[in-house]
């Protein structure tokens, strides 16, 4: 737009002219141009200059028969009317000039005459201005009248300017303005009307004129700011113009077109501006559509097509700029339903970007056309070279050739061929690419801002192509890369194909092998879009260097890469200095989940198990797939894991690899050929070294020696589908044969800890007994592997739960532990090194840690736990061995653990009981007994100074035999002298063995010396040990004590003793005495009665009473004859003390006697000596 | 009198197994085992009757008239037998049996839980059957 002439771009301003009094001109012209609408002033200092207002020489009167015009519009016409043809002229005279001095008057008159004559040709309006110094000095009527007469103007066209007086000055100026305005409008109206008349009368010889007239009328209308009229005539003009294309023959076709388009451009521009300035966006756009449509087909002959496209592109550019400058917005009145019946327009048409993009496109068209023409025309170049001194003619859109001979200069028309070659040479002087890029960039930016990504990327694609054409490959590459992203993402394979085609060439030109290969491979692996591809790939300019995508072109590209890699040069790429063939070091391509090259090669790795033990074999499937069109042979496949010792390499059998360069990893030779879209499934066995995670990182494929493609391994479970190919309607194949693996397979597994090959044995012997030092051997056998920095943890827990092994209330004092771990003593079987015992790290009552010495495989180690039960409790013993396989730190990180546990009962070894007995057949009367018969204190009572029997029983309540080493009564410190206790029968040799649930009885005689209501006899003290055959003896025998209950010691007032022989013989009478001793110092009356018994007959009274003197004994005797043999109950005797009203009968046990049928023969006395022993 | 047109209804699968039995208040109610035995016996008799037929293409007994009851039997071409014991001279029982056959196809065979040839336990079938029998009684009362 900016290369349009100013007069075309801006709306025309009325022009007036002032002559004379030059000193006032500045202020006047300023005033005029400042008014609204402004008015241009053509100021002529003095009348001599007025001649320039005259018509140019070759003026003819318009009524003469006109010959065909040489063109439609004169270039300068617009300019002329804005700068040299005033609508009105003002002649200025000073008042003093015209009044008075006749000479001056005459001068003025003549000047006026001249002026009149000059403007006489055109009907330019005349104004006379008289300049007065100040309002005061009057001006004679007749002078003004005379002037008017001279000037032939009516009175109101004579203006008086008052120079000095400010207010007057402005007033008079305003008058002048209004007069001018009025005159101008009449002037232009007249002019317009004049020409319109011709149009209406249709009296014009040629179409050209009618167009010209329309144009002029429109312009005049514009002068008058009569926009509707202007618009009307412009449109009329352009209509006629469009029609004349076919008809006119004035010029040879090409130039004719050029001229027509030039005019059309001007007029169209006028229309657009008018519409836009009037805020009629919709109309403007609609109009533009119309304009474009009417010319888009008018290309002209192919060799000048470029002219058309250039012009066409300019239309868009200019309109775009107009839209941009007159910041248009979509009017609210417009229906939002764009593109439908109720609103034909579309969003983008309100966006300058839209027009820029198209301008760019068409300019590119021009470029193609130009290339075409120059290539074709150059052949005919020899015939007539580019004609020199061709120049634009006076007519818009015409060119002529200056022809001078000597001094005469003639202007000759051009032949089309001349013109064409001229235009061609002109066009070739410019490099359009950068123009195009600029346009695209403009479009790109504003589309970007509109969020129209695809439009934008189309634009930047366009830029890229231009850069490519201009040979700026790095820029091109950068842009192409950006665009490719979008196409990849949205799966527009064909567009991507084009893009990559360029990128590939860029890479080639930039000589970057890696890029070249990766672009090529991606292209080769692209899916073909069904429906595309049948287009012939000749027109590279349209389809890009890659041509159109076909399976064959894919294969070629693939092949090309292979050739390059293998150093074989394919013929088609020898053209440029692309020295790919001397590649020594191999090229690396990395392919990860997001890489576009996934379609080239994807590696999918799945372990067959979820978890595995270290160093136990496990299968892993490696599946590869490629979408490359032709089979890919892989020389070598390296599979890499995070545990490098699992890495393995597979070498193709085709490749005769010197297996030397294949490093440690397993080498397996098979055929490694990838067929298109088919999974190549390999299964290999790996042995993970350490525990922890084992992940397959990458699969490196070496293809045709020099290409190393490193694919990040993917788990089949989490493998997302292929870009682009996922839209292909082909059924997916699974990476692995078995579907489960294909859906759930993982490239990462957890390697478990190796299972401990160490055994920990707790061999416990039976239940523990309370009080003993229970030793529990723990043995560690290392069966499989060595044990390093082993550590044995021992923990005692109450089996009934509640963890703590102490009675809660006295938790703090360690004594109160019911069960406690006393220590650990190590006794290593082979070398009895004692020092291990010392490094017991920690021992609490219920917890201990022992460090285990290093054991090599096969060794064993053992120790004893010493535990003591204070109470009968069952306890869980937990023993856990923690160790590591190596002594090295990193290996020490994951330790193995072996746990054992054992429940141990704590049993009470013995239950101890006791009972008191009277002496035989002797019964003290114990009053407390009688009383207590009512009261209920279980306290047993003993008679003072009387030997009472105490029988202590110890019962073995375990399952094991026990030894009783000692049983004694330990009297309390004070009790010693007050009461003598001596053992009557004790343990014979140093211990007595008690079988389970066997009972041992010890007999003591207790002889109290004092009376005491509650006497402490002391405690029973047992010492026992297990009766283990192997004689670890006394040292570990356990003392256990049990306190005897308190007893009641009293003096008995009466003691009844019965006497009768140890045995009697049937039928033989014997005497039976009952002695009653009164130990009191009182007279005691007693009654006693003897009850009959069927076994005996006896003499003497049944009942009797007696008085016993103090400290005397009363004896009652009876003669009895036994009637029955065997152990017989003597007649029952009951002694009753009157004083104490207490009866006392000896216990039946005491009142029996054995009756022999006849005199027995005793071999030895033993028979009855034993009972004798009991009686003292 | 017309109140109990039908005494009982049997359905026998093609191999003679009783797959459905319903009693509508006949005097001597037969317990399950009896009804099973009866069913297979009837199945055999039905077959025998076909053999006895002098002319080929006999479909077997479809009406057995006793002095105090009629036995109407309908055998589908697929070999399933529906037979009803009803009062003497009860009318268009065979139509009823056809209807029951349709119910059978709709509510037994289309019940995904029903396995072919197995005893029928479909509440929907029972329901609809009851309605039909009911209707039939009404009809009888009507006449």
């Amino acid at each position: 737009m900016e290369d349009y002439p100013e007069e075309l771009r801006t709306p025309p301003l009325t022009l007036v002219s002032i002559v004379g009094c030059s000193e006032l001109h500045p202020s006047i012209s300023a005033a005029l141009s400042s008014q609204q609408p402004p008015m241009n002033t053509l100021a002529l200092p003095d009348f001599s200059k007025a001649s320039i207002l005259a018509r140019s020489a070759k003026t003819r009167d318009p009524l003469a028969p006109p010959q065909a015009p040489a063109g439609i519009l004169k270039k300068d016409w617009l300019l002329k009317h804005r700068t040299r043809v005033p609508a009105a002229v003002a002649a200025m005279f000073r008042a003093d000039q015209v009044s008075g001095d006749p000479a001056q008057w005459l001068q003025a008159c003549s000047d006026l005459e001249n002026l009149k004559s000059v403007i006489q040709g055109r009907n330019t309006k005349l104004v006379v201005i008289l300049v007065q110094a100040q309002a005061g000095d009057e001006l004679s009527e007749d002078v003004t009248v005379a002037l008017r007469k001279r000037a032939e103007i009516d009175s109101k066209h004579l203006v008086v300017l008052v120079e000095r007086d400010e207010s007057e000055w402005t007033k008079s100026l305003n008058k002048l303005k209004s007069i001018f305005t009025e005159l101008c409008s009449t002037y232009y109206k007249d002019e317009g009307r004049r020409i319109k008349a011709r149009i209406e009368k249709r009296n014009f010889s040629s179409v050209e004129l009618s167009i010209r007239y329309c144009f002029k009328v429109a312009v005049y209308a514009e002068f008058r700011r009569d926009w509707p009229e202007a618009l009307k005539f412009y449109e009329e003009g352009i209509r006629v113009l469009r029609e004349m294309i076919g008809t006119s023959t004035r010029l040879p076709p090409t130039q004719r077109l050029v001229e027509v388009k030039a005019i059309a451009e001007q007029i169209h521009f006028k229309i657009s501006t008018l519409l836009l300035h009037a805020g009629k966006v919709v109309e403007a756009i609609t109009w533009f559509r119309k304009h474009i449509r009417s010319y888009e087909r008018v290309v002209g002959s192919p060799e000048v097509a470029f002219l058309h496209w250039e012009w066409f592109s300019r239309q868009f550019l200019v309109f775009g700029e107009l839209i941009e400058t007159t910041s248009t917005t979509v009017p609210d009145t417009l229906s939002p339903r764009f593109g439908t019946a109720d609103n034909a327009l579309t969003e983008w048409e309100f966006q300058p970007a839209y027009y820029y993009q198209l301008a760019a496109n068409y300019l590119r068209e021009k470029r193609y056309a130009l290339e075409f023409s120059s290539s074709s025309v150059n052949i005919t170049d020899g015939v007539n070279g580019i004609p020199e001194s061709v120049m634009p003619s006076v007519y818009v859109g015409q060119y002529v050739r200056l022809f001078e001979q000597g001094d005469t200069v003639a202007v000759l028309p051009l032949s089309d061929t001349e013109y064409t070659s001229y235009a061609l040479s002109e066009a070739e002087r410019f490099q359009d690419s950068y123009e195009i890029i600029a346009l695209f960039r403009k479009a790109y930016e504003s589309f970007q801002s509109l969020g129209a990504m695809r439009m934008a990327s189309a634009c930047s694609g366009g830029m890229a192509i231009e850069y490519y054409a201009a040979g700026d490959f790095s820029n091109a590459k950068q842009l192409f890369d950006g665009v490719a992203g979008l196409y990849r993402q949205e799966g527009w394979a064909t567009l991507l194909w084009e893009n990559l085609g360029y990128l590939r060439e860029c890479a080639r030109k930039l000589n970057s092998l890696k890029d070249f290969i990766s672009y090529s491979l991606e292209m080769a692996a692209l899916p073909l879009f069904s429906g595309s591809g049948q287009g012939n790939s000749e027109n590279k300019s349209k389809n890009g260097p890659a041509g159109s995508p076909t399976i064959s072109s894919r294969e070629n590209i693939h092949q090309e890469v292979v050739n390059i890699l293998e150093g074989k040069h394919a013929p088609e790429i020898t053209d440029d200095g692309f020295n790919l063939h001397l590649v020594e070091e191999s090229t690396h391509l990395d392919i990860d989940q997001i890489s576009p090259l996934r379609i080239v090669l994807v590696a999918c790795v799945a372990f067959h198990d979820q978890s595995v033990k270290p160093s136990s074999p496990m299968l892993v499937s490696v599946s590869l797939q490629s979408h490359l069109p032709s089979p890919v042979t892989i020389d070598k496949l390296e599979v890499q894991f995070n545990q490098s010792d699992c890495n393995f390499v597979i070498v193709s059998s085709q490749e005769d690899y010197s297996t030397s360069n294949v490093h440690d990893g397993a080498v397996q030779v098979t055929s490694l050929t990838l067929f298109t879209d088919k999974w190549m499934r390999l299964t290999h066995e790996v042995k993970p070294g350490q525990s922890g995670k084992l992940e397959c990182l990458a699969v490196k494929a070496t293809i045709s020696k020099h290409l190393v493609v490193c694919c990040q391994a993917e788990s089949p479970a989490s493998m997302e589908d292929f870009p682009l190919w996922k839209f292909e309607d082909q059924l997916e194949t699974l990476p692995t044969k078995d579907t489960v693996l294909a859906f759930s397979g993982q490239k990462l597994i957890q390697v478990e800890e190796p299972d401990a090959q160490v055994d920990v044995v707790l061999n416990c012997t039976g239940p523990a007994l309370v009080g003993e030092l229970f030793t529990l051997p723990v043995a560690i056998f290392s069966k499989g592997h060595a044990v390093h920095s082993g550590e044995l943890k021992i923990n005692l827990v109450d089996a009934k739960g509640g963890g703590l092994l102490m009675s809660p209330r006295e938790a703090e004092e360690s004594e109160s532990h019911h069960v406690e771990l006393l220590g650990v003593s190590a006794l290593t079987t082979e070398k009895g090194s004692k020092e291990e015992v010392d490094n017991i790290k920690k021992i609490q009552q219920s917890f201990g840690v022992v460090s285990v010495p290093t054991l090599c495989a096969g060794d064993s180690w053992s120790c004893k736990l010493e535990i003591k039960w204070h109470q009968a409790k069952s306890v869980m013993l937990y023993v856990s061995l923690g160790y590591s396989l190596e002594s090295i730190e990193e290996a020490a990180l994951h330790r193995l653990n072996v746990h054992r546990s054992l429940q141990i009962e704590g049993k009470i070894p013995m239950t101890v009981g006791h009972q008191f007995l009277r002496p035989f057949r002797r019964e003290p009367l114990l009053l407390s007994k009688i009383r207590s018969s009512s009261g209920d204190d279980k306290k047993s009572s003993l008679a003072l100074n009387d030997s009472n029997m105490l029988i202590v029983s110890a019962r073995n309540c375990t399952e094991v035999p026990l030894r009783l080493h000692k049983m004694a009564i330990e009297p309390d410190v004070d009790g010693k002298q007050l009461c003598s206790v001596q053992q009557i029968s004790g343990i014979s040799n140093e211990y007595a063995v008690l079988a389970p649930s066997e009972e041992y009885k010890g007999i003591f005689s207790v002889n109290p010396q004092i009376i005491s209501s509650n006497f402490r006899l002391g405690e029973i003290c047992l010492s026992w040990s297990r009766d283990s055959s192997l004689g670890q003896s006394q040292d570990n025998c356990v003392i256990m004590k049990e306190r005897l209950p308190e007893v009641h010691i009293e003096e008995s007032p009466l003691v009844v003793t019965m006497e009768c022989p140890p045995y009697v013989i049937l039928g033989i009478p014997f005497t039976f005495h009952v002695k009653i001793y009164n130990s009191t110092s009182l007279l005691q009356e007693i009654k006693y009665s003897l009850v009959d018994s069927q076994n005996f007959v006896f003499s003497g009274a049944h009942n009797h009473a007696a008085f016993i003197l103090p400290k005397t004994e009363h004896i009652v005797s009876h003669k009895l004859v036994p009637l029955g043999s065997g152990s017989q109950q003597l007649p029952r005797i009951t002694v009753t003390s009157v004083r104490y009203s207490a009866a006392l009968t000896p216990p039946s046990s005491a009142a029996t006697v054995f009756v022999y049928p006849s005199e027995p023969k005793f071999s030895s006395e033993k028979g009855y000596s034993a009972p004798d022993a009991c009686i003292s | 009198m017309a109140s109990a047109a039908i005494y009982s209804l049997f359905i026998i699968n093609k191999s003679g197994g009783l797959i459905y039995y319903k009693d509508y208040g006949s005097a001597g109610r037969t317990d399950t085992n009896d009804s099973l035995r009866l069913a297979s016996l009837w199945h055999s008799m039905h077959a025998i009757s076909q053999q006895l037929s002098p002319t080929p293409g006999c479909a077997g007994i479809d009406l057995l008239q006793a002095d105090n009851f009629d036995l109407h039997c309908f055998q589908s071409l697929t070999g399933t037998k529906f037979f009803a014991v009803c009062e003497t001279g009860a009318q268009n029982i065979e139509v009823l049996l056809k209807v029951i056959y349709e119910l059978y196809t709709d509510f037994v065979l289309k019940n995904p839980f029903y396995e072919m040839e197995m005893p029928i336990r479909c509440e929907l079938f029972d329901l609809n059957l009851a309605q039909v029998i009911q209707k039939d009684r009404v009809a009888l009362l009507g006449r």
């Binding site: 559509r289 449509r293 888009e296 939002p336 339903r337 764009f338 593109g339 439908t340 019946a341 034909a344 579309t346 969003e347 983008w348 048409e349 839209y354 198209l358 496109n361 589309f447 129209a452 990504m453 695809r454 439009m455 189309a458 694609g461 949205e490 799966g491 527009w492 394979a493 064909t494 567009l495 084009e498 879009f529 069904s530 429906g531 595309s532 591809g533 049948q534 287009g535 012939n536 790939s537 000749e538 027109n539 349209k542 389809n543 890009g544 159109s548 996922k726 839209f727 292909e728 309607d729 | -």
Partner: protein, 143 residues
């Protein structure tokens, strides 16, 4: 005449694209179609236009470019149909009608049990049907 029709999936990926020109502007048509997606986005996502009237499947002229006119259609299932024509003035009704027929064809194509949703439409019968529709349209409007 119609020079190109396309079906574009809801991920804006081409599911079907057929051009009907002798000239090898297939590529250009790809570009045209692809760019038209911007307009569709604009039309559909534009907040101020969610009144039900505007939810109709026919989107109208998307944009004119060079000598093409691009029309759009968006189904309820987010499939985009795009039609590129070189006709100068296309009547709304014709375009609508075209798309209606096209939609029917599309629906039948995706009703093929072997068609996987979201994948390209490889059906031969579909392309056959489409080309008849295209032909009828061209004839319909030029007549």
């Amino acid at each position: 005449m119609v020079v190109c029709v396309a079906v574009v999936g809801h991920q804006n990926n081409p599911l079907y694209l057929q051009s009907f020109t002798e000239a090898d502007d297939a590529l250009k048509l790809h570009h045209v179609v692809h760019c038209s997606l911007d307009v569709i986005d604009e039309r559909v996502n534009n907040p101020k236009r969610n009144s039900p009237a505007l939810n109709e499947t026919f989107l109208g002229l998307l944009y004119p470019t060079e000598n093409y006119k691009v029309y759009g259609y968006l189904t309820n299932t987010k499939a985009k149909f795009i039609m590129v024509t070189t006709d100068l003035d296309v009547k709304d009704a014709d375009a609508r009608n075209f798309f209606r027929k096209f939609h029917a064809a599309y629906v039948d194509a995706v009703s093929n049990p072997f068609h996987v949703p979201g994948k390209k439409i490889a059906s031969r019968s579909f392309s056959a049907r489409v080309s008849t529709i295209v032909r009828s349209f061209s004839s319909g409007t030029t007549a």
